[in-house]
Amino acid sequence: MSEALESDLSFPDAVPLAAASDDVQRNRAWVRFRRHRLAMFGTAAILLLVLATIIGPWLIPFDQLHIDIRNRFAPPLVAGHIFGTDQLGRDLAARLFTAGRLSLTIGFSAMVISASFGTLIGVVAGYYGGLIGAALMRFVDAILCFPTIFLLLVLAAFIVPNVAMITLIIAATAWMEVARIVASQIATLRERDFTLAAEMLGASGSYIMFNELLRNAVGPIVVAATLNVARAILLEAYVSFLGYGVQPPAASWGNMLNDAQQYLGSAPWLAIFPGLAITLAVASFNFVGDGLRDALDARMDIG
């Protein structure tokens, strides 16, 4: 999971050069991003996935909940079902697109929540340092001792498994990395002259934190947030596969695989397509995150 990429996420020198204006910076980043082939592939794949989940269900002549017992377990490309049908004769393609709406929405919403909360904690911890900062960061360390899936499953078993709650608990187990990255960024930026200048001009703590410091830490946050979408989509797939996430009849990529497991021998397409969809979505966000990291980093020669 993206925990692995955490150490790559440190941007000790990612502070925009004072000489270059914001526009020039943005232009350079955009040029570098466009040169990153994987990132462009990822962007295209994400757009395609989003588009497919929005208009896909309209293009397919079957409703995702339409049960057709005579055509159950139809292999792909049989009887007009491009991806085949499941144990109830429901069209797999229609289900895949509808499930994608849910999985992508959960991934994106969980990212927004976890990135915002992580940023808030990180800014406060990085700006105040001292006892408050240390306490907050030790709290982050303590949560990171728990394997994410264990924590997520325990929380999922305690809640009513509706989409909003699942999004919330995924966010609750995914904000810590963002907090760490932001805290270290803010702690470095805090020591710089422009912070001192703002203090001397009489700016308040919250103004400095959220207007001066946060603005200069946007790059790493954007990267971490992008990788968090990938992570959230994966986590949703894990909990739903294990039966504690999105509940049927609603379809998500994860719970489609839960059903598919028992028909693995006779109808492998039920397992193959949702898994490919998850992998494509997660890989795309990881590629874009990687491209953004290279593009937004002022140092060109990163690993």
């Binding site: 993206s2 899936i149 499953l153 078993a157 894990y238 294990l242 695989l257 397992a271 890989a283």
Partner: protein, 316 residues
């Protein structure tokens, strides 16, 4: 060195207190809290529950309750399972060997293969091999472990009769080879993500080592490139890998949970999911705490090993 050790152990104690506090909060979040077991018994009145709560000390202030719960944890009294009244710690330790077997084999594959890929990638940076390894690692990190497990079972157990589809050994057989045969599938599946992680870190660490001044000095002395890379760069690049083994333990444990589910492997992961579906909260909580404490000690151990191996840390 002594100063560093004392400092590091003190940090771990603070962390242990925080970890246990989080565990305590989660325990009280459970529906019905620690009394969930009794609330399920038919004919149990509100007054009965209140009496039990008083007997168990649950009517006292939370900090005192926390402290009692924590001291019971320290003395090894982790409560009893709702299902069979066995002591929680004994249940967990009886499932530990299967999980350790899986984790250690996956880690071995990851360390050997991942480090090899990482070193080769760093030495031949931007080569075709390096590019493929980088892209491959990112894709490997994006594949859901359970799905990869399903695909492996489909290909190597259902289509080709090469590997057993699950469990740890054939009942009635149980020879070493039989164990090994059952281990191949799950170990490979769990190793996939780990190989990707280890190769990425190894590559970054090796690149970092190669860019150091002492490498330039060694090259300037006219040492053969192989000696420079292996004896100077690699030796130093390996040091951060010790820390990685500790840092990556939560990922490995989480991966083991999912892998065990797919391969019906009788370890802590299966135990966790079974207990969760039975709402056997003492075992679930025990496993949650056990894994967190394991991670905590692994990190401490990794840092100590790192300090022993690296004079730069030892002297500060």
């Amino acid at each position: 060195m002594a100063h560093y050790l004392v400092n590091r152990i003190a940090q771990s104690v603070v962390l242990l207190l925080l970890v246990s506090a989080i565990g305590f909060v989660v325990l009280h979040l459970a529906p019905g809290g620690p009394l969930a077991q009794f609330a399920l018994i038919p004919g149990m009145s509100q007054a009965d529950i209140a009496r039990i709560a008083a007997q168990m000390g649950l009517d006292r202030p939370l900090p005192i309750q926390y402290w009692e719960w924590f001291s019971r944890l320290l003395t090894g009294d982790w409560g009893h399972s709702y299902r069979d009244s066995q002591p929680v710690l004994a249940i967990i330790t009886s499932h530990l060997p299967a999980t350790l077997e899986l984790m250690v084999s996956a880690l071995l594959i990851a360390v050997v293969l991942g480090m090899w890929v990482g070193v080769m990638g760093a030495v031949r940076r931007y080569s075709v091999f390096d590019t493929l390894a980088t892209v491959g690692a990112m894709i490997a990190l994006s594949i859901p472990t359970f799905w990869f497990g399903l695909i492996v079972i489909y290909i190597f157990s259902l289509k080709l009769p090469w590997l057993p589809a699950g469990s740890r050994y054939t009942p009635g057989n149980g020879s070493f080879l039989d164990y090994a045969h059952h281990l191949i599938g799950p170990a490979l599946v769990l190793a996939l993500v780990e190989v990707a992680i280890w190769s990425r870190y190894m590559r970054a660490s090796m690149l970092d080592a190669i860019s150091q001044d002492y490498i330039r000095t060694a090259r300037a002395k006219g040492l053969p490139s192989r000696v420079v890379l292996v004896q100077h760069a690699l030796r130093n690049a390996l040091l951060p890998m010790i820390t990685l083994a500790g840092l990556e333990l939560p990922t490995l444990l989480g991966g083991a949970l999912v892998t065990e589910t797919v391969f019906t492997w009788p370890g802590m992961g299966r135990l966790f999911l079974d207990s969760l579906s039975y709402r056997d909260y003492p075992v679930v909580m025990g496993l949650l705490m056990f894994s967190a404490v394991m991670v905590l000690f692994a990190n401490l151990l990794a840092d100590i090993c790192c300090a022993l191996a690296d004079p730069r840390i030892r002297l500060t």
